[in-house]
């Protein structure tokens, strides 16, 4: 019997269609139909400037948008040979790991809900809410963050971030323990997941699967360890690996990864350097309209010593934080507002970065940068022709190889197991279909 699951099915995350040839309750053959959320991300990136690509990357894996932001920024920086300030690297690590926790919380919560464990879903979404509130405080948006910039991040962390982050992590760790109490040794959950959706090492490797899917088979591959980016090589963490490659192992791997992420953030918060602080400010804070008008009418004597009372959504980008979070390079450097308001050189620089054809222009060449996303290796391949737009952008979405091999995993299981296996894929249509 041919059975259509999807494209809009209550248990399918996002729009995807699984054509199942069923023999009774068993899946004899199946075919995956993707592409319902195709938006042309790669083509869009070719039409906009490099800066304008960041809002597009938010919408790839929309549960952990910050990792996508940083992955894209990192690749462009690689192309330009930019060095990002140390503090900014740590901020990227912290925000990436918070995103990873929220990604796994959503995945485990949603797949547990589909197996009937609604409490798990609610508790995990509660924890995700705490993390998203932190993200909101840092980036100015819960989901469409657009926080990374070429050569840095938008703004420094808020002053009370350290304490808030630590308490959220503590609470999240408690939630994880509660989830383990609820479902880890629960017979229904265990029997639904154990020895279902088995992936062998060979299959995973031949399809190019990465992330928790590959690690559940026992292969120790994590981009953060294999090719350390940002400052992951300075941080001590473990890669959880499974043995059997079934859904239960993937659940365990994800739970352990969240604990490791908590460890990483705590270490990063301990290690994060203060970074250079611009000390020429005299502590006088004046409103932006006053500063801009004084600068415009030539009353610039001592104006640069002042600090501007900045618009709240731009908090953390003031002159004194600027050197901490932005690379010291005029090619990608949007000057701090104090300088834009008060001197013509910075204003020109500001205009040059934004004007079409003058902005961030990497030299001719190509670069591939990979980060460990929520589902595996998230890679960006950018070919530059020397203009302010990418000639070609290719995104390697971590879901795509998994979905490519999913039909082999589903065959032999029951129809109800499709839900369990599909839930453990954590398919995000935004990054799958791009």
């Amino acid at each position: 019997m041919l059975l259509n699951m999807g494209p809009s099915h209550p248990a399918m995350h996002g729009v995807i269609r699984i054509k199942v040839i069923a023999d009774g309750e068993m899946v004899k053959d199946c075919d995956i139909d993707i592409g319902f959320l195709h938006r042309g991300f790669e083509k869009h990136c070719e039409t906009g400037t490099y800066t304008q690509c960041f809002p597009y990357t938010d919408r790839l894996n929309y549960v952990s948008p910050l990792i996508n932001n940083f992955g894209f920024a990192m690749t462009v920086e690689k192309l330009m040979g930019l060095k990002v300030p140390e503090r900014c690297e740590y901020i990227r690590v912290i925000m990436s790991e918070l995103s990873r926790i929220s990604d796994h919380l959503t995945c485990v919560g949603a797949s547990a809900m589909e197996l009937g464990a609604f409490t798990v879903f609610l508790y995990m979404i509660k924890a995700r809410e705490w993390i998203w509130e932190l993200v909101e405080e840092v980036t100015g948006a819960r989901l469409t963050t657009s926080y990374a910039r070429v050569g840095g991040v938008k703004g420094d962390l808020p002053s009370d971030f350290d304490g808030k982050c630590r308490s959220v992590l503590k609470q999240t760790a408690e939630v994880l323990d509660e989830i383990d109490t609820l479902v880890k040794r629960n017979r229904i959950f265990y029997d639904r997941l154990r020895d279902v959706g088995i992936v062998s090492k060979e299959l995973a490797a031949s399809y190019g699967m990465t992330g928790p899917f590959l690690r559940s088979t026992g292969v120790e591959y994590d981009v953060r360890k294999a090719t350390p980016y940002h400052v992951y090589d300075r941080i001590d963490f473990d890669i959880p690996v499974g043995r059997r490659g079934d859904n239960y192992d993937r659940y365990l791997v994800r739970m352990e990864e969240m604990r490791q992420s908590i460890r990483i953030v705590e270490q990063a918060l301990d290690q994060i350097p203060e970074g250079p602080t611009n000390v020429d400010a005299e502590g006088k804070i004046i409103p932006p309209n006053v500063m801009a008008d004084l600068g415009k009418f030539g009353k610039t004597a001592g104006l640069l010593k002042n600090e501007v009372l900045i618009e709240p959504t731009l908090e953390g980008t003031q002159k004194r934080f600027h050197d901490r979070v932005r690379a010291d390079s005029k090619e990608a450097w949007i000057p701090p507002k104090e300088q834009v308001y008060s001197n013509i050189e910075a204003l020109m620089n500001h205009f040059k970065i934004i004007m079409l054809g003058h902005g961030v222009r990497p030299p001719k060449g190509e670069a591939y940068g990979a980060v460990e996303g929520g589902n595996g290796e998230l890679g960006f391949y950018i070919v530059s022709d020397g203009t302010d737009r990418a000639w070609r952008v290719r995104c390697r979405p971590p879901c795509f190889p998994i979905m490519g091999g999913l039909h082999e995993i589903l065959v032999g299981d029951q129809i109800a197991d499709i839900i369990a296996t599909f839930g453990s894929v954590n398919m995000i249509a935004g990054e799958l279909d791009r």
Partner: protein
């Protein structure tokens, strides 16, 4: 270093399931009574700093917004009430959604060269990335109104023109988020 997440087979006691059910129910009921106690305490005016539920009773109760949260745009004014915008087109250029359109006019004051005769933001297209605020060299556009509700029955109603954007030109006071704000 890799760590194995190997899990042992379920024991007979766990297979029987009764104990697991009791453990699960104990956890959820624990949460229930703890939250209920907070709810009751709040009813009597105690435990103001705690919340019994993680949800908010929208629209009566609003979620506190982070200061950095990007919300509805506004244009700021000069002292004489004219818009601060000088129609330099930076926001229009940087906008990834191409939702801003500006028409520049010549200002009678020779110290101010240009001003916008039209300034439209199509909120139906806007992606709230905040690039326009970052790109503005005049502090003319801001996204700090704290307004999250701007709905319309038509696409035309989503286009905010100069007057609508200038209507909120005063700096909003902090901690005003509990009040009901609508566009």
């Amino acid at each position: 270093m890799a760590i194995k997440v190997e899990e042992k087979q379920l024991t007979l006691l766990e297979r029987l399931y009764v104990l697991e059910v009791v453990r699960g129910i104990a956890l959820t009921t624990g949460h229930f009574f703890r939250n209920m106690a907070v709810h009751i305490a709040r009813l009597f005016g105690l435990a103001k700093d705690k919340k019994g539920s993680t949800t908010f009773q929208y629209p009566e109760e609003r979620r506190p917004l982070a200061p950095r949260l990007r919300t509805l745009h506004r244009l700021t004014r000069r002292e004489d009430g004219a818009p601060r915008c000088v129609a330099c087109m930076m926001c229009e250029t940087v906008c990834p959604a191409h939702c801003i359109s500006i028409v520049a006019g010549e200002h009678p004051n020779p110290l101010i060269e240009k001003y916008p005769t039209r300034f439209d933001i199509d909120l139906g297209l806007c992606v709230f990335c905040g690039y326009c605020v970052e790109a503005c060299p005049e502090d003319a556009i801001r996204m700090d109104t704290g307004v999250l509700e701007f709905t319309s029955f038509s696409r035309e109603g989503m286009v905010y023109d100069l007057n609508k954007l200038l209507a909120r030109s005063e700096t909003p006071k902090p901690n005003e988020e509990s009040k009901v704000k609508t566009a």
